[in-house]
């Protein structure tokens, strides 16, 4: 049956070996899916810092491929020599301001630089509840450039780096399954470079500390410092008879000359003593600070080197409490093998246990990846590349769709506008033609009408103007609208009267008497006067005749 939960891969990179572990499930039912290791590439690290990122990433990618893991989210371990661990006392400020206060404190204490450092923190329990009470905060810090090297390796290996966590803290997480909530427990994580301890009680993390011993409690790799140069050795000499001194080591004369073969054992014992001394101090400090709590009576030791197993017994003897060696926790998954996993995988397993769901031990999960809380920079969450690409694609699809729809609409509007403009041109032309036709017709009628004369109207006007005693003989309209009238009258007064009447005619202008004649030779007789009147047909008469 497939375990529940999304698995993640814990990765430990050191100068000797690359180790991975894949874990999923919950704290009540954790499952180790697989562990795998491979030698680190030669010269890929310098002073514990990866320098050949591509080579390490290639080895990691090959290792993950060989292990058959399909998980992509990974947490990488930061070795203790590259991280700083401090307890910082801060005012009891709101959570939202805690990061700023801590950063200021770290910069003030010159633990980190203003820029280029990253940190994460967790508040220790049992203190700071009152508004005016200072809070103890566990802070882990590292150089941002270093952390990014590790994250780059993970990315280059085809994995998604979701966090970078201090190694020993991750190791302490593996004790989670063995911590009994009903008693105070001391958890000790030891690796080749450092020791970190935590005191947990119930669901509270009361104390956390990285021990600075000056030499390793069980180092086989480093040459121990000359005993007379180790300050704490002198103190150990005075504490030789006290209860936390190792009984098995009481016969060894510290600082005295001894056989060369015994020097290694002496160094080991010295380291163990120093560790026990520091542990006792930490226990005393906690006993003084948390007076309401039960004393620590049990401890858990987490190791990543199987050769350090005897350390458990030595610490137990020195402190007088029960020390249990923490073994990798979990029911192995189908591909992890039947036997319990090697102690070497403790850090990787501890890192991968971040994925476990449900209530776990009171140990915090740290992430020193450069992120908002430490740098103010915006960092995307897990699955960032895919999520960003998917989000971008979604935005492009939606925005592009809207844009294409708007473009289509604009295209339709443009086509409609072109058609409307063509129609407008057509209608404008039609209106102009129609208007011109009507106007032309009117003007043509006016022009042509003016070329003729309203003969009948003029004749009526003339007839009305002729008084009794006057008879018209001829009426002639010549070119240019000149009117000539000839007639006979009984006397001159009749002619003058006729002339006066004609002058009042609306359709005649320039009325004038051209001639009159009373000659004896005329056929009209001696009593009649022949006359001729000229006039000009008015332009208004011609227009009126045309318009009629």
């Amino acid at each position: 049956m497939r375990p529940k939960g999304k698995p993640i891969i814990g990765i430990e990179l050191n100068e000797d070996e690359i180790r991975i572990a894949e874990v999923c499930g919950s704290w009540t039912e954790p499952t180790l899916l697989r562990t795998a290791s491979a030698p680190a590439p030669l010269n890929a690290f310098a002073d514990g810092v990866p320098v050949d990122l591509e080579a390490v990433a290639a080895a990691l990618r090959a290792l993950v491929g060989r292990s058959g893991s399909s998980a992509r989210n990974a947490v990488v371990a930061l070795p203790p020599q590259l991280t700083t661990c401090r307890i910082v006392e801060t005012p009891n400020v709101p959570v939202t301001e805690m990061a700023t206060v801590i950063r200021g404190e770290l910069v003030h204490l010159q633990i980190v630089r203003e820029e280029g450092s990253t940190f994460d923190y967790a508040r220790l329990s049992g203190e700071g509840s009152a508004p005016d009470q200072a809070a103890s905060v566990l802070v882990m810090a590292a150089e941002e450039a270093i952390v990014e090297r590790y994250a780059t390796i993970v990315s280059l290996a085809g994995l998604n780096p979701i966090g970078a966590e201090p190694l020993l803290l991750a190791m302490l997480r593996t004790t989670g399954l063995m911590v009994r909530p009903d008693r105070e427990t001391l958890a000790i994580a030891v690796n080749a470079n450092a020791v970190e301890i935590a005191i947990v009680g119930g669901t509270d993390l009361r104390f956390y500390r990285r021990l600075d011993l000056g030499c390793h409690p069980a180092s086989k790799r480093r040459e121990p410092a000359p005993l007379d140069q180790v300050p704490i050795a002198r103190e150990l000499r005075s504490l030789q008879d006290e209860r936390f001194a190792l009984q098995g080591a009481s016969s060894i004369a510290i600082g005295e000359e001894s056989a060369p073969e015994a020097e290694g054992d002496a160094a080991d014992l010295l380291g163990a003593r120093m560790l026990a001394l520091d542990l006792q101090r930490s226990l005393d400090y906690c006993a003084g600070r948390f007076q309401q709590t039960e004393p620590v009576v049990a401890g858990l030791l987490v190791l990543s080197d199987p050769e350090m197993r005897p350390l458990a017994g030595k610490i137990a003897e020195a402190l007088g409490i029960e020390i249990t060696l923490s073994v990798p926790m979990i029911a192995a998954g189908p591909s992890a093998g039947e036997e319990a996993p090697d102690l070497r995988f403790q850090p990787a397993i501890g890192l991968a246990m971040r994925s476990l769901t449900g209530a776990g031990p009171p140990l915090p999960s740290f992430d020193l990846s450069p992120k908002t809380r430490s740098r103010g920079a915006i960092r995307l969450r897990n699955g960032s590349p895919l999520a960003a690409a998917a989000l971008s694609a979604l935005i492009l699809a939606v925005g592009g769709g809207i844009g294409i729809q708007a473009t289509s609409r604009a295209g339709l509007e443009q086509a409609s506008l072109i058609r409307a403009r063509a129609t407008l041109t057509q209608r404008t032309q039609e209106q102009a033609d129609l208007s011109q036709r009507i106007q032309g017709r009117v003007e043509r009628l006016r022009d042509l009408s003016a070329r003729g004369y309203p003969i009948a109207t003029v004749a009526d006007e003339v007839a009305e103007a002729v008084p009794p005693g006057v008879a018209l003989e001829t009426l002639r309209v010549e070119a240019g609208g000149r009117l000539l009238l000839t007639g006979e009258a009984a006397d001159e007064r009749a002619v003058i009267r006729a002339l006066d009447r004609l002058k009042t005619s609306r359709h005649l202008a320039d009325v004038s008497l051209e001639s009159f004649d009373r000659g004896p030779d005329r056929s009209a007789g001696p009593d009649l006067i022949r006359f001729q009147v000229a006039a000009q047909i008015a332009a208004s008469a011609a227009e009126a005749g045309g318009a009629r």
């Binding site: 990315s155 960032s384 492009l396 925005g399 708007a406 003969i455």
Partner: protein, 180 residues
Amino acid sequence: MRSFRNFERVLFVLPVVCLTATALYAGIQAHRAQRLEASRRSVEAKIRALESEIAAYRALPAPTRVVSASPSPNEQAAFLRELRAGARRSGALITRWLVKKSAGAAQEIPQGQPAPIATELGVRGDFASVRRMLYALQRSPRLLNMTDAWWRRSEWPVTEAGLTLTRYVDAAPDGSGERK
């Protein structure tokens, strides 16, 4: 290290760039569509106004006077028929009908203008008949221009009148026609 940091920045910036780009593109296109729609509505309003004006022109009453007739072969016969009918209704007698030839008339007619056809007309009858005949010509629905007119007494009650009657026909498309 820097490449890793840049990679994360790209992951954040990429959607923002996409959002900005698509918003810009969609916004420009939407604005363009709105502008085009406004232009189309404006043009359509102008079209409606023009169509209303055209409809008003077309609704105008038909003209009461016709300037010219179509240059068909039957035009002269139809005109004479109208003339004779008018004379009969007036009680006058047409005594003369002569088509006047005017040399070079074709050159005087502007392009597109109707072509004039002038005829000499003689009418005889009593004063009232001739008057009615002249009024009939003057008020004819077709424009008939009267020039060079004379009217004189004859044996009482007969009067005689003569005039040049000019009618107009539309210009033939090829410029030819009955221009005399």
